[in-house]
Amino acid sequence: MLDVSKARIIHDFTHERPLLACRYDPKERYVVTSSEDFRLQRFNLPGGEKTVLPEVHSSWVHALGFSPDGQTLYSGGCDGKLVFWNIAEPEVKPLRTIDAHQGWLRAMSVSSDGSLVATGSNDKTIKVWNTQSGELVKQWVGHTKNVYSIQFMPDGKRILSGDLGGAVQLRSLDADDVKASFEAKPLHTYEGGQMVDFGGVRCLAVRPSSDQFAAGGLHKASNPLGAVHEPLALRFALEGGQILKSHVSEGITGGGLWRVQWLSDGTLMGVSGGSSGGFLIFWNDQQDKDYFKFKLPALARDMDLATNGLNVVTSHHDGHVRITHLSAS
């Protein structure tokens, strides 16, 4: 039974280099991570036996996704490549490599039926790929800043995307234009003294009922270059586009949300990493402030919720991949 107040770490595996992204196999057989050495790692569960995947990317990998059956892993790198992997096989190999973007591939999302994968990039484009053939089936150019986040709607026919400037756009696969725009401006900072854009929509998550979505990132960026900023998640109504809640977390003066996801009881969960350390933060729909936060042993950079809704994998700067169980059982 879900009880975030009883959160505890049940697995802790290591890699020799700092980790970046992580994802949970939908069948819960393993977790996959990426690291600063351009490589991907598969850790079997529960023992943590590590398989390092062949080096295909020539840069860091920030975007990972699974097919719903857990047989295929998709990885997107700062080299602009989208790679398909036979991740469930004993010997993991790349199945397909696509030169997907002219710039960092920062974000990806797999449709609920597994037929499509959407990618977003620094080239300011959003692209949708057929997971069977690898063909490009749709492309949009519409963001004026780097695309930082992307998320399929549960219907698999619409896509949300967010950018550095705080713009969130909703598109339909059968249309070329933007279906709806949302202003997540609190997530963007232009610091005039330092002359830098900072923040952006680092992550998006759609509530299973599709009536709300959350855009996560950071705010109060008084010193972007010095890591002084606080986590912020904006809860939007999909219809109307108004901000319903601005979820903050007191006491985290150095942090930003790398990912947000919805738990089965309607809680919005975010992972924060920054100078205050790593946290799993939990918000309900009643208040802006969190109702609980779980301190992780080190700064976290990504998170993924297992299909069971109780286990959360986090990837950390210290090279550890940790699995936190959100229940007393």
Binding site: R17, P18, E36, D37, F38, S58, S59, W60, C78, D79, W104, N122, N146, G192, G193, Q194, M195, V196, D197, F198, P224, L225, G226, A227, G274, S275, A298, L299, H317, D318
Partner: protein, 429 residues
């Protein structure tokens, strides 16, 4: 009297007074500053060569790994790849694709070790070629260039800084050379502050005002001429000349095609303005690009900042080469230091002065050259280590100034550059 002096505008009156105040304050520490007015034949020869220097100051500390000395695929390399350049075998960061095509004009120093990780002290060292000391203050490269390269009869200032934000004013960066050589700041690339004559002042009124000022000046100077009065007089004359030549600083006078080529963002305008200024004979221009002090999310910020730097800078180099100005123009891209090879937990890089890079080019510098090297992870210099003092000498040698000689200030020999260091002769052709 007040009206004649400052045209009845209190704002203008304050402006003039502020200008004078700043100029004079720079002179307070200059005993007998008249010495700089004396020039030798050798100095005049250098001035006739019409050499110039343009410094791009990558404020905050540009990462050498995300620019001139990438280490892709290593522990310290970060996410960016290296790309080939117009110099066979030379690779730089993929963030600089257009600059990569201009590297055959340039000279890369990859073995810089300045051993100073403080912003202020590092900046002082890189701009003056000396370590900061409570016992002495030294002129910045711009002031030295203005004194050694600018013809004495020039109607324009020799030392210009184009700064990112608005405002303006003057720097106090000439030390014992005196305020004549201190920088004039062009805030956000705009003409010098307070150089626009109020609309109510006609040419005739202005002429009479200046005549009156000169007349009273002469009467005063007949009996009480000092270094300070000379500075005041020079400041007035310079302000007068600036007002007459305000268009020199107006980048919108450049062809529209050139403005588009450089980019319409601030840094693009500033680079084009730098070209305009040196083409009109100004000896030294410094362009600042901010900000590279990326302790946090170094890669995202360098993606943004270096991405903005690349096209205008490459266009500037290409333009100078095409216009035949590169032989007479030294280009330097510097920071106060580099950034740590180690990537910190915030995906940032911290201050690092022990193994970093400076890019230069033009003048007498070897073209398409790479001097120095760091080890595989960029943590230390392994070949041709150089420091701020050697670089300072080298910049001056590259524009024909014998950096091993001295200024004569009030009968004293003050070495132009650190006498304990030497130019990097390997870089000079």
């Amino acid at each position: 009297m007040k009206c004649q002096y400052a045209c009845g505008s209190s704002e203008h009156l304050m402006a003039r007074r502020k200008f004078l105040s700043l100029s004079a304050s720079g002179a307070v520490g200059v005993a007998g500053g008249l010495g700089f007015l004396t020039r030798g034949a050798a100095a005049e020869q250098v001035q006739q060569m019409q050499q110039r220097i343009v410094v791009f100051n990558m404020h905050g500390g540009l990462s050498q790994l995300e620019s001139w000395d990438p280490k892709p695929g290593t522990r310290t390399g970060g996410p960016f790849r290296a790309i080939p350049t117009s110099v066979p075998g030379l690779h730089i960061s993929e963030l600089l694709p257009q600059t990569a095509q201009q590297m055959h004009h340039l000279c890369l120093f990859r073995g810089v070790n300045t051993s100073e990780d403080d912003h202020g002290k590092g900046a002082y060292m890189m701009m003056t070629g000396r370590r900061q000391s409570p016992a002495a203050d030294y002129p910045e490269i711009g002031a030295v260039a203005a004194k050694t390269l600018m013809p004495n009869d020039s109607s324009l200032p020799g030392h210009i800084r184009i700064v990112p934000h608005g405002g303006g004013g003057r720097g106090s960066d000439a030390a014992y050379l005196g305020p004549k050589y201190s920088s004039i700041h062009l805030g956000n690339g705009n003409p010098p502050q307070y150089t626009k004559r109020p609309d109510g002042i006609t040419d005739d009124v202005e002429k009479r005002r200046q005549e009156f000022r000169r007349k009273t000046d002469r009467r005063f100077l007949d009996g009480r001429r000092t270094a300070m009065t000379d500075v005041f007089t020079y400041s007035f004359e310079q302000a007068d000349r600036l007002m007459e030549q305000r268009d020199v600083f107006d980048v919108t006078k450049e062809p529209v095609a050139d403005q588009e080529k450089y980019g319409t963002h601030d840094f693009g305008r500033h680079c084009l303005l730098a070209r305009r200024l040196i083409e009109r004979g100004i000896s030294f221009v410094q362009v600042s690009h901010s900000n590279y002090d990326t302790h946090n999310e170094n890669f995202d910020f360098h993606l943004e900042q270096v991405g903005e730097f690349d096209r205008p800078f490459a266009t500037f180099v290409s333009d100078l080469a095409q216009r035949g100005l590169l032989d007479q123009t030294l280009i330097v891209v510097l920071s106060e230091f580099g950034r740590t090879p180690n990537i910190n937990l915030y995906l940032g890089r911290d201050h690092w002065s022990r193994a970093w890079s400076v890019l230069a080019g033009g003048g007498k510098l070897a073209r398409g050259a790479v001097l120095g090297a760091t080890n595989a992870e960029g943590t230390e210099v392994v070949d041709v280590q150089v420091d701020h003092a050697q670089l300072f000498h080298t910049y001056l040698q590259a524009v024909g100034v014998d950096s091993t000689t001295s200024f004569q200030i009030d009968g004293r020999d003050l070495p132009i550059a650190d006498p304990a260091a030497e130019p990097i002769w390997k870089a000079i052709v």
